[in-house]
Symmetry: C4
Subunit: 198 residues, 4 copies
Amino acid sequence: MVSSPSQRPSSYWKLKVPDVEPGGLSDALIESWPSYATYVVSFLTIGIIWVNHHAVLDRIRNVTRPLLFMNLVFLMAVAAIPFPTALLADYLQAGHDESLAAAVYGGTMAVMGVTFGAIWAYAVLSEDLLHEGVDPERARRSLWIFAAGSPLYVLAIGVSLLSATLALAMYALLALFYLFDALPPLKQGDEEKGVGET
Amino acid sequence: MVSSPSQRPSSYWKLKVPDVEPGGLSDALIESWPSYATYVVSFLTIGIIWVNHHAVLDRIRNVTRPLLFMNLVFLMAVAAIPFPTALLADYLQAGHDESLAAAVYGGTMAVMGVTFGAIWAYAVLSEDLLHEGVDPERARRSLWIFAAGSPLYVLAIGVSLLSATLALAMYALLALFYLFDALPPLKQGDEEKGVGET
Amino acid sequence: MVSSPSQRPSSYWKLKVPDVEPGGLSDALIESWPSYATYVVSFLTIGIIWVNHHAVLDRIRNVTRPLLFMNLVFLMAVAAIPFPTALLADYLQAGHDESLAAAVYGGTMAVMGVTFGAIWAYAVLSEDLLHEGVDPERARRSLWIFAAGSPLYVLAIGVSLLSATLALAMYALLALFYLFDALPPLKQGDEEKGVGET
Amino acid sequence: MVSSPSQRPSSYWKLKVPDVEPGGLSDALIESWPSYATYVVSFLTIGIIWVNHHAVLDRIRNVTRPLLFMNLVFLMAVAAIPFPTALLADYLQAGHDESLAAAVYGGTMAVMGVTFGAIWAYAVLSEDLLHEGVDPERARRSLWIFAAGSPLYVLAIGVSLLSATLALAMYALLALFYLFDALPPLKQGDEEKGVGET
């Protein structure tokens, strides 16, 4: 069977440049909407988790070997995100198998979220790893907010069986949910770090 | 329909390696001029905006959550630039639909410019975010120079309907326009930052 | 001869997005298990060697030209890893030539390990390059642990002739073997480096 | 005309994963030697120039706008290197047009070398940009060693018309030529920079 041009898989990072065919660019751009939508959702999710990752590491005083290894697994999930992103874009455009693609997308995001939460939980529960400027009581309470995201991802994976488009919208909302700063504030006694947060 | 080799879309980052065919390398290299031209314009634009982005962040004292989010949207536009670059190179070479491709190119650049300007405007107008070494009056005046770029991009998008090549030349000139330092000088009282600007 | 879709080589970095065909996504995902397995092994290996590389550089006081050149050759081996990763994934899935692919994979890993060990050996044996916080005696003993990895890689390359899958499992175990901190501790007199290791 | 698998252009970064065909891996790996040879030469060239670039920037006190722009053009040449690398690998393997490909390769390297030399020449000749720890007289003399590389690249481009393989060997030797430290030593009065060079 000869592949039609639209069946070519997406270029890995991430906006698909359509095959050059006479007079077809405007149609090709409109048909490629899943490529743009998944690009935006994946970029926002990675960007927001990047900001939060930075904030978590600021609150950790001692970096131990187990923490480095957990961080490595977390980075492995982050680095894998372009794969389900391309998958979901391709199958949303193809109009079949998009539920499975959306479930794979949500599963990758859930793994990323769980490993990220595990880093923070490990640091909070083994108390001597926390920065002295962090209130241990508030740190422990923040774990509940982290934990709240996981069932929402499970819910979104369930929704993807009904509608992949709706599931994608839920993933976007989940990214924005993590935009709010759930971490306890960091009181810094040293002045050389001038970049504060209000 | 079987695709001819020249219809293969550009490799994403960015100079297109032509298909290997006997005796055809010199012709293939000459035909690929849009690939080199768009590479140069995109690289210069990203490079100059990178220098300016660094200069803007130097003049901001407090990095707040809204600023981080605006920066994320700005980075999303920057990271998308290879897409319209490959699109414009492909359609300039194909000789059709190049106006639409040039307009998409200009639109991406305009989004990047607007989000970049928004970061600086937000920092200038909510005065406590500005570094103390920046004169607030001159900072406010610099916003006009930032604002001047946006209608020029709109003009270039209009020109792209007449000639995609001419529009590409305008995008190059717009990049060079931002080469001039429009930001107010930064007076630094601390000596440990030895890298000054004359 | 027309290539069947499964004969398309892997996208370079690294999880292969399957060609879009009706109803075939779940099968395509299951068939692509070598792509995920090699991704995980390569990511873990690079990640663990990255942590160890950081730890080695922390223990080196003077960076000389020969050291920079050895580091360059080491980085060249690291940057080449996606190549045998894609090769092994493709041929494990194709079901032929996988022994040669697994041997090439192991050979690349062995080159990386040997150049990495050479950097540390060079620093330890030319004693004035070592950080003063490192005990030279313990540093010399640590060289034996480094040397122990090389024959294991040679063994795994031999095993790859029997079973590529078993060899891949051995490469994963070898990565985890390097997870244990073989380097002598670094005693730091300066307090500004607050990140200690327990 | 249907393309044979070996005519597929190289993946951009840089070691070509061969198409999967029964029993053909060992032959495919041997035939792909230009891919490995050009990878090594390009990696060494970029790596050595990276070390030298770092050393040059260490000797520059004031970073001015013209210097930033020259650096941008230099980085544009560096970022373009994968293109002639893939080109030369493809045409060496194809066995035709390899002279033109080798000349394009040498031309890109020469542009990189000239822009790199221009940065150092600009810093040396406009004397107030030099770090105070650099002897201006020795800095001026070092410019001759920088200048010596350019005619050698021109010579190698000429040689590429006779033999692309010989030209590639010359490019490798030229990279190693720049391995020797041609820059004047940097005397540092401040102790916080503990990484010295012997």
